[in-house]
């Protein structure tokens, strides 16, 4: 399963995007998000970006006001996940042009679409920005 979930949370702890690759009930999701946000947002920039949580790891990175949190299995490569987060941000940057929290709020489905291109079934399947964006661009033309 590799990646279990991807969350984007702002500084206030509000979830801006949540993508789960395993089924959790709404209550479980809420509890999980609460715990993780509490754990990760309290950490400072000087601390490392990896947090052990329950039986898996959370790799997170902060970009401006937005935290990107990825829950992964224990044997996943943390540095690769950090690169993945960065790739995701770069991709969104390229599409929205200097992406900000509002872009993700108002274009949530696009952010989901990008993630769907990049990750399938918890595995990273696409790492080329232009490949990731081509279906979205096509769709933009369509509508």
């Amino acid at each position: 399963m590799g990646i279990r979930f991807i969350l984007m949370v702002n500084k206030q702890g509000q979830t801006r995007l949540a993508q789960y690759y395993e089924w959790l009930t709404l209550e479980e999701r809420r509890a999980l998000e609460g715990e993780i946000v509490r754990k990760c947002l309290a950490r400072t920039e000087q601390q490392c970006s990896f947090v052990e949580h329950r039986n898996y790891k959370i790799v997170y990175r902060r970009y401006a006001s937005l935290f990107f949190l990825v829950g992964v299995d224990n044997d996943e490569n943390e540095l690769a996940i950090l690169e993945f987060i960065h790739l995701l941000v770069e991709t969104m940057d390229r599409h929205f042009g200097n992406v900000c929290e509002l872009d993700i709020m108002f274009h949530l489905e696009k952010a989901h679409f990008m993630l769907e291109e990049m990750v399938m079934n918890g595995c990273i399947v696409e790492t080329s920005k232009s490949n990731i964006l081509s279906p979205i661009q096509l769709m933009d033309k369509l509508s």
Binding site: N77, M120, V125
Partner: protein, 978 residues
């Protein structure tokens, strides 16, 4: 109706409006959501697809970010999903993917839609359907759509193919039979020219091989090619993960990959790839010295980096390698110690783990000293982490790193006083554990306990109550090592003990009881010494008792009159002994004394004069005063124990107080009563109780013919006649004492008391005769008892503490001294139990893993015919796994029947089988080395045969076959690797 629908359509709020509404914050969020939800519920029923999909879109948003339940819209989502318009379809798919799970009731309805979209010409529609399948596919969906996925695996569009590959993982997981259909194509895609497709395939294998790596050994050459040729870091990381698993299984493979991995390590600039290489080396290639050296050098680069992430990962890599190459940690010791004061809790924690890995018996004291000092300064959370790891490290393998137990005892006491300490339970356990296991440490333990007990401030901290409980127990149990029992008694009865929870207070009362008995006993003996003429026989036994070896009492709760343990060595053991009168006892004690006269009892070294008439009177008054109110305590344990103590005092007080007033003869008689009672109690408390292996009971073999799982309906009948003796003899100490106290002194004297239990034992004997088969014969017990406690031993059956006799045995047998040379102070003996808990603990996860991989292998084998129960048997015989894989690679569509027929044909004679085994193995090796490619098909044939053999052998459950399997198995791999 139609008009509202049009109105809805015209004035419907879309998602953007919804989000803007959220941002305006005009009303409370929950109110706003409720209002929006109301709209959505109305709109979603609309017949207009546009309105419907917009409503669904909003609902998905609320579900995803605000946790609103959207299960009511399942059916609408399916409707939107089947829209011909892509934008609607996408919204529908998104909603379904997000909100459906395997048991969603309407799941059946989407199969056809998915199939239609999987066959669509629009690759984006196909992609939507694949995504959906990957997320919510259950067994039905996966089964029904396997043909479509199979077709897509060879699609000409890379966009679709890549996703189809990723979906395969889900399909395999849910519907194992799909392996037969799809596996071959999946493997073919490894050769694809598109790096993303290869990456997706490797991703699938990476996940699969995590669960059951052995099955993928045959694919090693393909993986190897990628490892050497690929330039894509994502891909390389995944291949390395696969090799991490495979190299552990196949040493020759490890030898092959070690060089390319080192090459990557030297060359790559990507930290993620470098780290993955390091991780592979430290976890799977630790035998290759050069690789490890290189990896450790790279780890060092990580450690000195400013990036906390690299620091953390570096430390983590070190702790992975620590068990095998401790030098790597020692080399970086300075850094590790420095990291202990890092600003990051995670880094501190890793550094702590490493420090603990470095602990050995030579440096345990220093490291612990540093850590305890550090714990005093750190925040509560980390302080407890430190204490916890000190405790677990020091107790590892029965305290193997501890040489100086006196130091350890005082360390435990010191830890209890650290302000943030919350490890009360752990410290409690270890205090008692070393008290029971290590005889030499007891005096120190008592003095540590005294310091803890006597400090009234500690009683106010609830985290310390457990420790105080241990301290109270220890000081009662080993009171004869105490320098001043009176002081101890005051500590145990101090007013602030009201702060303790009842269960611990009960321990306090019981310990006070033991201290009291000890004091009076010592007093009587010293008085007896003064008037040696008064009662010679008593005196002699009394002295013998004092000088006698410390016969360490059983746990306070269970102390019964006598323990059969004591009589183990006596051939003529008889249940009657349980209540044997005191004459016997004293003889017994005398004998014991001769056994171990060498061990000077501390009580003898106590200044005799502290047990004066006056001090004893004060003591009795103190106890009466303190326990008086407790005899009406709400807690039964406290009440009962206090009652016992008070009853005893009542019984003996006047004798102890007025010896001089009475005439000599009276004195002699009366004192016999008092001292007899005291002596009895004293002896009862002096029985040694040692540690019992937690698995002791499990090691008692079930006697033949005994059905443990049988219905116990007739238990009543069977037990009816033993009920009464049992109930009386199982009583707890307090009840027993109560009985004794109730009996008049003359009764005790005249052995009347033993009569009823004689009766009960005869009943028991009769019962035993009738149900003989439920008992182990005593003969048998004798022969095997070295290893386990005779739980069914009828003699000990009327004893709750039948553990005790095993303990005596354990102590005798397992005293095997640990050789620890070159220490100024010899390491005291730590009692060990031959059933090491460690090995048992280790076995359990293994079993779990077996079950899991058994399931996966079953998936890959596709032999559903095998009953689940035999799976576990197979799981440790790996050859069948590979065969399953092989079969799938080359004959993906082969029907089950062929395998079954062959199996029936070949698997009949076991002798033939084993011969075949060997020859196949050899043949294969031979051929394989000759011609690689052509031999492959042959291999498959043979593999199949072989596996059928082994398959059969599993069924036959012949353990003898295991080595053979190993032989053939190791012979296979080179063919694929060369």
């Amino acid at each position: 109706m139609a008009s509202t629908s049009i109105m809805d359509t015209l004035f419907q709020r879309n998602l953007d409006d919804l989000i803007k509404g959220f941002r305006q914050h005009q009303v409370k969020e929950s109110v706003f959501i409720a209002k929006a939800l109301e709209e959505i519920r109305r709109e979603i029923k609309s017949t207009d697809l546009h309105t419907k999909s917009a409503a669904l879109h909003k609902l998905s948003y609320l579900n995803s970010l605000h946790g609103i339940d959207m299960s009511f819209a399942s059916f609408h989502a399916i409707e939107v999903m089947s829209s011909p318009q892509f934008l609607h379809k996408k919204i529908g798919y998104h909603a379904v993917t997000q909100s459906f799970h395997e048991d969603t009731p309407v799941m059946l309805l989407i199969t056809n839609q998915l199939r239609k979209d999987l066959n669509s010409h629009n690759q984006y529609e196909v992609s939507l359907a694949l995504e959906c399948l990957a997320r919510i596919g259950n067994i039905d969906l996966c089964r029904d759509l396997t043909p479509e996925v199979f077709t897509l695996l060879s699609s000409s569009k890379a966009f679709v193919k890549k996703k189809a590959v990723a979906v395969v993982l889900r399909v395999f997981e849910k519907y194992p039979d799909a392996v037969r259909v799809c596996f071959k194509r999946l493997v073919e895609n490894l050769e694809s020219s598109d790096p993303f497709i290869v990456s997706a395939v490797i991703g699938v294998f990476c996940e699969l091989s995590l669960k059951d790596p052995r099955s993928y050994l045959p694919l090693a050459p393909e993986f190897y090619k990628i490892l050497v040729d690929s330039k894509n870091n994502w891909l390389l990381i995944k291949v390395l993960k696969i090799f991490t698993k495979l190299a552990q299984l196949e040493p020759r493979l490890a030898k092959r990959v070690v060089e390319p991995i080192c090459e990557h390590m030297r060359r790559t600039g990507a930290k993620s790839l470098l780290f993955e290489c390091i991780r592979t080396v430290v976890s799977s290639l630790s035998e290759y010295e050069s690789a490890v050296k290189l990896a450790v050098a790279k780890v060092r680069e990580f450690l000195v980096d400013d990036d906390p992430n690299l620091k953390y990962l570096g430390l983590q890599a070190l702790s992975t390698i620590a068990p095998k190459h401790l030098w790597a940690v020692l080399e970086n010791k300075d850094f590790v110690v420095k990291s202990l004061s890092d600003g990051d809790f995670n880094i501190k924690l890793e550094s702590l783990r490493l420090l603990m890995a470095m602990v050995s018996e030579n440096n345990a004291i220093e490291i612990t000293r540093v850590l305890v000092n550090y714990a005093l300064k750190s925040d509560p959370e980390f302080c407890n982490e430190i204490l916890g790891s000190i405790l677990s490290t020091c107790s590892r393998n029965l305290y193997e790193v501890i040489v100086d137990f006196d130091w350890f005892a005082s360390l435990l006491g010191e830890m209890a006083r650290i302000p943030h300490c919350q490890k009360g339970e752990e410290i409690e356990n270890q205090l008692i554990d070393i008290g029971m296991r290590v005889k030499d440490v007891r005096p120190e333990l008592v003095s540590v306990s005294r310091d803890l007990l006597i400090d009234p401030a500690l009683l106010g901290n609830p985290f310390l109550h457990r420790i105080l409980s241990a301290a109270a127990w220890l000081s009662g149990e080993y009171v004869e090592f105490s320098r001043n029992p009176f002081e101890l008694m005051e500590a145990l009865l101090q007013p602030r003990t009201t702060l303790l929870p009842p269960s611990i207070r009960a321990v306090y009362v019981q310990s006070a009881f033991k201290v009291l008995i000890f004091c009076i006993h010592s007093y009587l003996i010293s008085r007896g010494n003064g008037a040696s003429s008064s009662c010679p026989e008593n005196l002699s036994s009394g002295i013998a008792g004092t000088i006698s070896v410390r016969k360490f009492p059983e746990s306070s709760g269970l102390a019964t009159l006598e323990s059969p343990a004591h009589y183990e060595e006596d051939e003529e053991f008889d249940p009657r002994d349980i209540t044997q009168p005191f004459e016997d006892l004293s003889i017994e004690n005398g004998r014991d004394a001769t056994f171990s006269i060498g061990q000077a009892s501390t009580s003898a070294s106590l200044p005799k004069n502290i047990f004066t008439q006056e001090s004893i009177v004060n003591l009795l008054n103190l106890v009466e005063l303190a326990l008086g109110p407790l005899s009406v305590n709400h807690d039964v344990e406290i009440q009962e124990r206090a009652g016992n103590v008070l009853g005893l005092i009542d019984l003996i007080k006047h004798e102890v107080l007025n010896p001089i007033v009475q005439g000599e003869e009276i004195l002699a008689r009366e004192e016999t009563v008092a001292s007899s009672v005291v002596k009895l109690m004293y002896d009862a408390f002096s029985k040694e109780l040692g540690p019992v292996s937690s698995s002791a009971q499990a090691r008692v073999p079930v006697p033949e013919g005994l059905m443990l799982n049988e219905d116990l309906a007739d238990l009543e009948m069977v037990c009816g006649d033993v009920q009464s003796p049992l109930s009386s003899s199982f009583s707890l100490d307090s009840a027993q004492y109560g009985e004794i106290l109730g009996v008049s002194p003359s009764n005790i004297q005249s052995k009347d008391e033993s009569e009823p239990s004689n009766e009960s034992t005869s009943l028991l004997a009769e019962h035993r005769k009738r149900h003989g088969l439920y008992y182990l014969s005593s003969e048998k017990t004798e022969t095997v008892s070295n290893d386990y406690p005779p739980a069914n031993d009828p003699m000990s059956q009327d004893k709750l503490n039948d553990d005790a006799d095993d303990l005596v045995k354990f102590t005798e047998q397992s005293l095997a001294p640990k050789k620890k040379p070159n220490h100024a102070k010899p390491r005291p003996v730590v009692l060990k139990l031959d059933g090491d808990e460690i090995s048992i603990a280790a076995k359990k996860p293994e079993l779990m893993g077996d079950l899991l991989s058994g399931a996966v292998r079953d998936v890959l084998l596709g032999n559903e015919a095998v009953p689940a129960s035999s799976l576990t048997n197979q799981s440790d015989k790996p050859s069948s796994r590979r065969k399953g894989k092989e079969k799938n690679i080359d004959l993906p569509l082969e029907s089950e029947n062929i395998g079954g027929e062959e199996m029936a044909g070949q698997g009949n004679t076991s002798s033939r089988r084993s011969k075949h085994h060997r020859s196949h193995g050899k043949e294969r090796r031979h051929k394989g080395s000759e011609k690689n490619v052509e031999g492959k098909e042959d291999n498959v044939q043979k593999e199949k045969k072989k596996s059928n053999h082994s398959h059969h052998s599993h069924k036959a459950r012949q353990k003898a076959d295991e080595p053979l399997n190993v032989v053939t198995q190791t012979a296979v791999v080179p063919d694929f690797l060369l």
